[in-house]
Symmetry: C2
Subunit: 217 residues, 2 copies
Amino acid sequence: MFSLSEENYLKAIFHLERKYQAGVSTNALSEEMDTKASSVTDMVKKLSEKKLVKYKKYQGVKLSEKGRNAAVEVIRKHRLWEVFLVEKLNFNWDEVHEIAEQLEHIKSEKLTRELDRFLEHPSRDPHGDPIPDAEGNFSVSNKLLLSELEKGQEGICVGVKDSSSDFLRYLDKNKISLGKSILVKDKEPFDESMLVEIDGEKLRISNTISANLYIKI
Amino acid sequence: MFSLSEENYLKAIFHLERKYQAGVSTNALSEEMDTKASSVTDMVKKLSEKKLVKYKKYQGVKLSEKGRNAAVEVIRKHRLWEVFLVEKLNFNWDEVHEIAEQLEHIKSEKLTRELDRFLEHPSRDPHGDPIPDAEGNFSVSNKLLLSELEKGQEGICVGVKDSSSDFLRYLDKNKISLGKSILVKDKEPFDESMLVEIDGEKLRISNTISANLYIKI
DNA sequence: TCCTATTTTTAGTCTTATCTAAATTTAATT
DNA sequence: AATTAAATTTAGATAAGACTAAAAATAGGA
Ligand SMILES: [Mn+2]
Ligand SMILES: [Mn+2]
Ligand SMILES: [Mn+2]
Ligand SMILES: [Mn+2]
């Protein structure tokens, strides 16, 4: 249906729309895609001709209904494969993204459907991100960032905002994983660093860390 | 490492070398790849520059050691994925080839290794073809075609030569599957058709069928 | 409003993998 | 050995997706 490159652009536009709730700029897209702005313009024109995005010169792009569906389908596959790699193939959560970037482009509706069944219809991927169902519906949850909590508040770790290997391995090293309860023992006003308690262990974390951990109260 | 197209050419050369035990001709390769001969020449030159094949103008190609290793790795992945699709995802053996054609190009050594472990190191794919191990060793078996059997001989069905959907569905329809015992009750000299017995049921099959079923005595 | 910095688009190239048409080489047949 | 047929290679073109450099549009500040 769509080329690998087209799918990657659609996915990037989808993520950027969520992030900035506005038309996605050429530069933002070129940064996300790690390409030059001129390449983005070319592709955006093509996507526009295919009615996957709404595009007006100099005004950025928005996904059309058709484009959004395509993007969500790719995201669904990406996250299902991540679950597969972690749950069935012994991968760590910091190792799966790159491979899922490849697997998300495999074309077969039955494959996606059966993978979903095989994994028992997971609702979240290893990083806590929601997996859209076959109709494209995401389950929304009112999570917030750990950095938004105040001293004395407690919550469950439910996801990561950044899912770079470096961050995920930091979490592993400090025994922070999804599902764990985190209590804010203290918060330093000067640098926003926090003293938190996890499994009875105290740990000091910088704002860079706390601003990338999603919590549910 | 190698592009999707390069991998497909290497795989095709590998299969054709097995088939004709000789240098692979440009035309044979263009037929196998479903491209024009001129495209083959271009690609073969590229593979030759990369030392993946030995090529002399007008003399056909042979895989180098390096090329053979790459081809076998792709075949290993193809067959492991086919096993996965059938064993874990409820696919029928006639539905897996196309998807495996996509999956075989996913790049991750760990993925292949873990998939192999997850499937408990299968030695054959759903069509009875051997799965090379991580070092590229194939298990050889002295199978022969059903068409080579004489009246009165019996054997176990161990593989298919043709694995088109049409043929595999014919086999399903007639309850012929790998592992089944087949007895040749009669063989018609004129058209080489056979009367065979499977699970106590008699069935008449044409030479086109019997020449595509591998048997082990 | 005007000027400048930034953003975006256009124009022209490049690479990969294809194709068609033409030229060349090899193989087969007289 | 000469001729013809078949196989193979070369030459030139195309499409996708990327790039660089230059032009054009927009936005923000004086
Ligand atoms: Mn990911
Ligand atoms: Mn993820
Ligand atoms: Mn196959
Ligand atoms: Mn197979």
